[in-house]
């Protein structure tokens, strides 16, 4: 197993390979893929295209096709999550940060596959996409304990139908999660951390964000619509899990 580590999008990427590292050109292409998304979609960069849209210096209809397509995809996710996932900041500015990291990860996977790399594990700031296996076994990932950064709640294998896992939490950088007004939902606890296992990283990442924002109602809705597994942590540390995660190493059914 080999590891390539680099920084992008304000975080650190850990890219592991089951065998030897691929060529330097392949690794550079992966890094360039992230940097390209960051250059266009980062609101932290005043010169990015989306910053120009946010500042009303660029009309949306004159923006690049790539920006408009990603915005349209984000709006689709807003519809599928009853607004729990949204590409708009509370002040109305378009913010695609909730989508772009996962999109860059998916694009990097295409780069790796095209280069002939089959066994790898891509961890970008805690969201993970995998391919193949390591030493003949599935890649195995842990889910961090939000109350103890040095401990894990459980460990799960990543398999072909569950290649991706994303975790959203209230400790998240910048918290690109705008909690909905939960009035009318009684005293149900809000989740402090939500992990979603899915076949692809965009679904996992978007739904982890949506369930963190939308609470139990959004969890029920997502489970009815999507083929995912979910582990939630509530404010007092209580855990719930779907069937596929209840058997995760380290967990037992209550």
């Amino acid at each position: 197993m080999t590891v390539h580590i680099f920084e992008t999008m304000g975080t650190t990427v850990s890219l592991r390979f089951g065998g030897a590292l691929p060529s330097a050109a392949t690794l550079a292409a992966v890094e360039a893929c992230f940097d390209r998304f960051d250059a266009r979609f980062s609101l932290y960069r005043p010169d990015s295209e989306i910053s120009r849209v946010a500042a009303a210096n660029l009309a949306l209809y004159r923006a690049s096709a790539e920006l408009r397509e990603n915005y349209a995809e984000a709006l689709d996710w807003r519809g599928r999550t009853s607004g729990a996932f949204t590409p708009h900041r509370p002040d109305g500015v378009i913010d695609l940060n909730g989508l772009i990291k996962a999109k860059a990860m998916a694009a990097s996977a295409v780069v790796l596959v095209a280069a002939g790399s089959t066994d790898w594990l891509l961890n970008v700031g805690g969201d993970i996409l995998s391919s193949g296996s390591v030493d003949g076994s599935p890649w195995s990932v842990g889910i961090v304990d939000p109350l103890d950064a040095a401990g894990m709640l459980c460990a799960v294998p990543l398999t072909p139908g569950r290649r991706a896992i994303a975790t959203s939490g209230t400790a998240e950088r910048g918290e690109h999660v705008w909690r909905r007004d939960v009035a009318g939902q009684g005293d149900e606890p809000a989740y402090s951390q939500v992990s979603v296992l899915a076949a692809d990283i965009v679904t996992a990442d978007v739904l982890a964000t949506a369930i963190l924002a939308g609470g139990r109602a959004q969890l029920t809705s997502a489970l009815a619509q999507f083929d995912i597994e979910v582990l939630t942590v509530d404010a007092s540390g209580g855990l719930t899990a779907t069937a596929g995660l209840r058997s995760g190493r380290g967990l037992v059914r209550a």
């Binding site: 197993m1 590891v3 580590i5 920084e7 304000g10 975080t11 650190t12 850990s14 592991r16 990291k101 594990l121 961890n123 700031g125 805690g126 969201d127 993970i128 890649w139 195995s140 990932v141 842990g142 889910i143 961090v144 304990d145 939000p146 103890d148 950064a149 040095a150 401990g151 894990m152 709640l153 459980c154 460990a155 994303a166 975790t167 959203s168 939490g169 209230t170 400790a171 998240e172 950088r173 951390q193 992990s195 969890l219 489970l223 597994e229 582990l231 209580g238 855990l239 719930t240 899990a241 779907t242 069937a243 596929g244 209840r246 190493r249 380290g250 967990l251 037992v252 059914r253 209550a254």
Partner: protein
Amino acid sequence: MRRRAIGLSILSSAAVLAVGWQLGSGTQPLSSSVSQATDAAVPGTVTPAAPTTGAATPPATSAPAASASGTFTGASAQTRFGAVQVQIVVADGTVTDVVALQLTDEDQKSVSISNRAEPVLRQQVLAAQSANVQGVSGATYTTDGYLTSLQSALDQAGL
């Protein structure tokens, strides 16, 4: 009192049971005590199938409702999910669980289609080094946060 409990748990699963009522017809009757329990909550032409697993009470017509226990599975019916059947778990005459099962195309093996998040407990504290994991998923860390993260520890240890 017990009968009320049965009614409430059935009504709370009304969406799932709606499938079950459709597929009940044409199957052999469940033990009479459970039929009695379900009839109490929802009138209809329900005739669930015989128990398949568990310590089901024999279908003695004189058995009181409170004594029925076991897992009972209805016949399959075609729905938008494909072939579906409903399974109920009964403990001492109370329906404790209702699960919609889907028969997969390949081997007709039943899988749950009602994936629900249910409470779980930590069995042990897993340490990254000993848990044999290659990655750790958590809320997004910054470049600085990475330095103190479990992922960083794994990377530095070459694990």
